[in-house]
Subunit: 307 residues, 3 copies
């Protein structure tokens, strides 16, 4: 892999900060304990800063410090991520694997990377610079925007779980709708997202989804939503922009999660329930305001001590 | 894809209802808002009916209404699914993908569809008209009945999680049994079902299983059971006919869920526990009758208000 | 498949017990109800023993009994597993499938089995006698010790779920670390394990992981840990040697589970929490000592009865 080389002055310009000393070259990003020559590191506290200064790192992102290798930034961790994203992120550079399976009736935007045995079904559209991992399945009816990243084993556009009960057993309701994944969405390994039954399932711009998540048919997930691992979202549920669903959260059918709402890990929201309030935090099953949840725990602890 | 064309009279005959007006042709099923000429739609309330009548739909399934495009049926949603299943469901028509991996020692029934890189292991039996999605793995020891549908990425016949503890660590208990999937079972994307350790795991006729479900070794799942996404069922557990397990339910080992029992989302049933009563609804962890569960929530809310 | 034939005397020697009667040959292991000639079975109670003695089994592992086909052992189930592991376990004997995808820059130890479309990425190291199932993805940055077994569809070395929030949305934190899987680890179907962000994720020797488990970046899982199906472990969490996590347990970020700790099914451990005490059992969300958990349930039941 070609070595990337970036000057201190370029990094300072990206971050909008001053620099001094020698205009050294940075060739990689790493942890402080791995820092050799050419390394960029970041320090978030005094201890880390002392270690960074004692290391051979070429450049250090920190809130404080006088060493001339330090660039003073407000949020070192964020600055580190921005530098990485701008120059060092290698995802998307591998082109199409010879074993990618691309239906001739699909449309793939310029600059896409397709992993080994990635499966792009008939009629699928991919925007520019998508990164599709090995063994990802993108089934008919699915459209991806630009710069969507999907990790290994994910299934996009599966049939939803919808049946009607009859005297002779369950009969499948049609699952013939669409799935739209907007720009800059990222999707984890072995996650599954169903297409709409008749309408569409939609994942909004910038939303990030972890591994082993399930999103059912006709869901409408907003922009910049964070969905941690093993979250399950049943059919026809809406999640507003900027919401955060922690690990293993379960949302039943036709739930409405308002913009900016946070649901704590393993929380459960029953069918049809609405939670709202930007920054409001809900916890437990059934999910309730964290204040109430903590009171409930305290009450149980009090009763327990009394017994 | 060839266009299907079905007459109003044929649809009325399937549903066992009268029809009047012109014997129009229906060519597709869709939502009311997408209805153009040749479309079949259904309406479940007055508002939807008004929209359907105002649309260009060729035929409307509804409980009420006088428009001659309406077929009067008791359950419009069910009728719609029945028409779809009878004439419009295209699953199963694609034959064997050139890249399906079929062991020569397996037996595949007539009319099966095998997706790209579907993997059919040695000794596997598939009944007629199964639909096996891309990248599905059906491992040795597995038998499928007729019309079984398995979505992308599912793994059928994996080794169960069984170990014995010894002074030098865990040693695997033999996982050499079988997995039997009966007729008309449907299985979601990335779901995993283990074969028996020595005996068999069995999924009964007509049972429907959603995405990312885990079913352990030696489980015995009855007929027409509904298992929603991310349910986990540990080894040697039994689920009776017609039971319903909502999303993220967990059943521990050697649990017995009686016929027709309903376990609410995220409910947990501890090892060896038996739940019974057709139509009885259990909720929470440990799962208890919904009446008790609601009382517990009310008690907590009362204590909370008092504090 | 070649028939294995093992003498009663060899089995007795492995188990360190006496034998008498004829030195018969055992050719397979099975359940008592399937026992024909040449079969080895085990009995854990009087009823099973009576059935075993009445069967045509060649050899019976039991704690009691006078039949000369019986080998007297302290733990029949464990003895059965040890005999199976020593002579009858066929996993690992199939070599490389012609369709395995092995990057030329990877290193595969001697005696490994690679299933169809198993994917071994650039720079990956596999120790000797690993068994990699069909469609397993082992991504760059991953190292496996000896005798590691990975079931179908698992993804090892995926990118972790780490982002920083900026005014223009989430930006990915670098996910460029490593994943180390030590000797004798077993990993279930469709499980996902992320590599470290900058450092490493490590799974200790002898640990067993079930299906559909998620392990996040920078986790440190000890030796001989049992992790049941659908457990989710967020980033930077530590699990000590010999711990047991039952099904659907969730551990948030930076949790520390001490050696030998047991967390009951569906238990949840909040961010940064430490649980310790070998053999200590924790239950519920938030996970608390089982004694407290049972008291809480009893208190709720008491309040419920009073109402």
């Amino acid at each position: 892999m070609a070595v990337v080389s970036v000057r201190k002055s370029q990094i300072a310009a990206l971050l909008g900060v001053d620099w001094r000393g020698e205009d050294v070259a940075v060739e990689r990003v790493c942890r402080i304990e791995d820092a050799g020559s050419g390394a960029l590191v970041f320090a978030t506290d005094e201890k880390a800063l002392a270690e960074a200064v004692a290391s051979r790192a070429a450049l250090i992102l920190s809130k404080t410090g006088a060493d001339e290798r330090i660039l003073l930034v407000k949020e070192p961790r964020t600055a580190f991520a921005l530098v990485y994203a701008r120059w060092f992120d290698r995802r998307g550079m591998a082109g199409w694997d010879a074993n990618a399976c691309v239906d001739e009736r699909s449309t793939i935007g310029p600059g896409c990377e397709l992993g080994a045995y990635a499966h792009i079904g008939a009629g699928v559209l991919l925007g520019e610079r998508c990164v599709i991992g090995p063994r990802v399945m993108i089934l008919p009816g699915t459209t991806l925007g630009a710069r969507v990243r999907v990790q290994a084993g994910a299934v996009l556009g599966s049939d939803g779980f919808g049946y009607v009960r009859t005297l002779s057993g369950y009969v499948g309701f049609p699952q013939i709708g669409t799935l739209v994944i907007e720009d800059d969405v990222e999707i984890g390994a072995n996650t599954t997202i169903d297409r709409g039954a008749l309408g569409e399932t939609r994942i909004g711009r910038g939303t990030k989804i972890d591994n082993l998540v399930h999103i059912g048919h006709n869901c409408r997930i907003g922009e910049d939503v964070m969905i941690a691992a093993q979250v399950g979202i049943a059919g026809s549920t809406e999640v507003g922009d900027g919401a955060i669903l922690a690990g293993q959260v379960g949302l039943a059918e036709k739930v409405v999660i308002g913009p900016g709402v946070i649901v704590g890990a393993q929380g459960g929201v029953p069918t049809g329930k609405k939670l709202s309030g930007p920054g409001a935090v809900f916890w437990g099953t059934p999910a309730r305001p964290i204040r109430d949840y903590l009171k409930d725990l305290a009450a149980l602890a009090r009763i327990r001590r009394r017994d």
